[in-house]
Symmetry: C2
Subunit: 452 residues, 2 copies
């Protein structure tokens, strides 16, 4: 049997894991510094928790787990007879793999509300699964890194999350721009044009402006019962992003005014902080997902710094006023951001941004000439490790050439050579693999050399 893995999933070899861990731990350290606390939720959720939360398309992309034991005993007979795959599911599968971290988080907050202190600031770095058609850069298993605050509507948190976006990417050495908009501004526009009932259609169309251009968006909007005249004016308005003009437009919309005020207050919080320099007010930013109700955020690689890089958004987020409502807990405002680790990984890879230490997994490899010095080397190995040095020993005293080849493959900066001479004098012949220099020194000196 030739082994393989499911399409759309990946194994990670050590050099890849190191890079991924570097990204995750950079994000995690920033989250911790900003006072966010980790939670974890199970990979499997009840399907009743997941279904209906991601639209019809999303439901299709859920991985469903077959009930154990004699699952056909309780199967829906009618669906079975009709070979109706969809209708059968709920009777043979009650669990699914989580599709994102937001819905499990909302479910968690409602279930554990008595164990938590609000405002509750949580981060969560875990894989999610989607049965999307696999293609370059899109996988069926991938990791999300989310931070959210629930239980406060303070705009301080929007400002803080923008700082987090700025700090994570600056730590990773990726130059970015952060786009900000507010769904209340978009709603205000809909109100001003008397098309509140078409608000969702409008935002979904605007969201495609980058891809299908102005004419495309106008066409999409007119198809959804928005007049062509209104559509053109709306696009002009959001492309101009002129706050003074908008305030005039919003004479009939308290919501629109509120959106502008919110954006201004966030900017006030950010005064003097470097994140402010990265921020672009972009009223064409709509973010399709419908649960955002206030500020929306999106991070893209800085086009000026990387003119050749073609890459979608690296991170996004926003404010949602009713996330836990679907699980029966009202009035719990939330705001959060999410980093897509895989896309960040691809950007870092193509720009070669990983620090050199990321690949350095071992400080020293010992090699020995014969069985007796090998036993002795094993004890030296123990001394090095007890000093916290990441050390290893080739497992057998075989030909030196073979052992040195292994040292090269493990990309080790030092090799410690031990024969009977070294054994009898309590020394190690330490070879610097970069310079090639070799010195017979005491174990103490080896420890000091590596530690500095």
């Amino acid at each position: 049997m030739k082994p393989s893995i499911p399409k759309g999933t990946r194994d990670f070899i050590p050099s890849e894991v190191y890079k991924r861990k570097y990204i995750f731990s950079t994000i995690e350290e920033v989250y911790k510094k900003y006072g966010y606390q980790p939670i974890e939720t199970p990979a499997m959720e009840l399907l009743q928790t997941l279904t209906g939360k991601y639209g019809e398309e999303g439901d299709k992309l859920l991985f469903k787990v077959l009930n154990n034991g004699d699952y056909l005993a309780k199967a829906n007979k009618e669906a079975l007879n009709n070979l109706d795959s969809n209708a059968l599911i709920s009777s043979i599968s009650k669990r699914g793999l989580r599709y994102d971290l937001t819905v499990p988080f909302a479910r968690f907050v409602v279930m554990r509300q008595n164990d938590l202190t609000f405002p509750f600031k949580r981060y969560q770095i875990q894989p999610v699964w989607r049965a999307d058609r696999p293609q370059k850069g899109r996988y069926q298993e991938f990791w999300q890194c989310d931070a959210d605050v629930v239980g406060s509507d303070s705009l301080m948190y929007e400002a803080e999350l923008i700082q987090i976006l700025s700090e994570v990417f600056s730590s990773l050495n990726i130059k970015v721009r952060i786009k900000i908009n507010n769904r209340k501004i978009l709603y205000g526009i809909a109100e001003a044009f008397g098309i509140e009932s078409r608000f969702m259609d409008m935002t979904i169309a605007i969201d495609k402006l980058d891809k299908i251009g102005k004419d495309g968006v106008v066409a999409e909007m007119t198809k959804r019962e928005i007049s062509e005249e209104a559509a053109i004016e709306i696009i002009d308005l959001i492309q101009a992003a002129d706050l003074t003009r908008l305030v005039e437009v919003f004479e009939a919309s308290d919501t629109g005014i509120k959106g502008i005020e919110e954006t201004r207050e966030i900017m006030t919080f950010l005064r003097g902080h470097e994140a402010l320099d990265l921020l672009d007010i972009d009223m064409t930013l709509a973010r399709g997902l419908n649960y955002y109700t206030g500020t929306i955020l999106e991070v893209v690689a800085d086009n000026e710094a990387y003119p050749d890089l073609v890459m979608g958004s690296l991170s996004g987020g926003g404010r949602y006023d009713n996330l836990t409502e679907v699980f029966g807990m009202k009035g719990n405002s939330g705001v959060g951001v999410s980093f897509g680790a895989d896309r960040i990984y691809d950007v870092m890879d193509s720009l070669n941004l990983y620090p050199e230490e990321v690949a350095q997994e071992l400080d020293i490899l010992l090699v020995a000439f014969d069985k007796e010095s090998h036993q002795y080397a094993f004890r030296v190995l123990g001394q090095l490790r007890s000093e916290g040095i990441r050390a290893d020993l080739y497992p057998d005293p075989v030909k030196m050439k073979k052992q040195m080849k292994y040292a090269h493959a493990r990309n080790v900066p030092y090799v410690g050579i031990i024969g009977s001479d070294e054994m009898n004098s309590g020394t190690v012949a330490l070879k610097d693999m970069e310079s090639g220099a070799q010195n017979k020194i005491s174990v103490e000196e080896v420890i000091n050399t590596i530690k500095k």
Copy 2:
């Protein structure tokens, strides 16, 4: 809808995640120091990879993932008509959740053999899933922390893994005993009694000695066509664990002699190391799983240190000579250990062994009296965070009592109080939450106080 999660799965609140991360990172640091490298494999494996690897019982405990789309279109019609759940599976599900980390690792090694340098030392810390009946201390999703070496039969690695077992538990402050045996010794005994063909039955029966006692094991062995006389003698022999007597018994068994020699060489490697003091040769140790072929290891909490603690094994491992064979790669000897994070968690909890810092997630919380000082406090917050201090600010300048209540709930050692006085003088009223002392000092001084 009242939210819930699948039985046998768990959410982890922050205080639990901190403890779990403490265990994982302790194990990971030791693995890294010993030169092991991380890999990750996907949660879903092809069912053809998993099925048949864990015995018939294991196959039943695999979580199977339903194929996406119109899965019934390709369903086995006969199985459908007969409502034969088992026969239907392979036609409607091609993926399953991984059951352990060993089989995915073997599959990985075979697939990626050209990317790896042998001996390949890997560690892997990931969740696994089993549809076991949930009960206290047993979950359907739990984490394993494995380290294995493949591609070498050097006994140095057995010695090294014993050192790892010793070091991990000493770092966690859990007193343990490490039991060692060798399947070759058990096989030698089977040979000496002419019951090689009953070897598996013998080891499975011996494995239950702790639970069902000598009489129970004899009964089990006689049921499996081993004579009562032989059964009694075998149990006497392994309970005595007298190497000299065994060498006599093994006159007819080269394998048995080899088992004794291996154990002795491992002890030689460990000479002078503290791990040797924890090691007990225990010939009643058999470890049911049938892929071990040499040394077998098991760690239990030290009975003398914790007479009241009732707890199964905390870790185990051993040598297997043919792990990758089932995937078509022969002659690749492996040896490894695995830590069960959940059981270790329970032991640490019941013995209260977590260091105090584990629960300390935040260094300081700022609180503000009014809107203006709140804006100023947000800037002070930025200064603290830019110094690497884990700092937070209550989101609104509400009543001080409410803000202080939040500070207590977050278990924070310092609170920085900021009103107009502090704002105008560029200071913070720093309150030490343990002593209750409060001092008005500069932001610089706050930073220095927290950093020391």
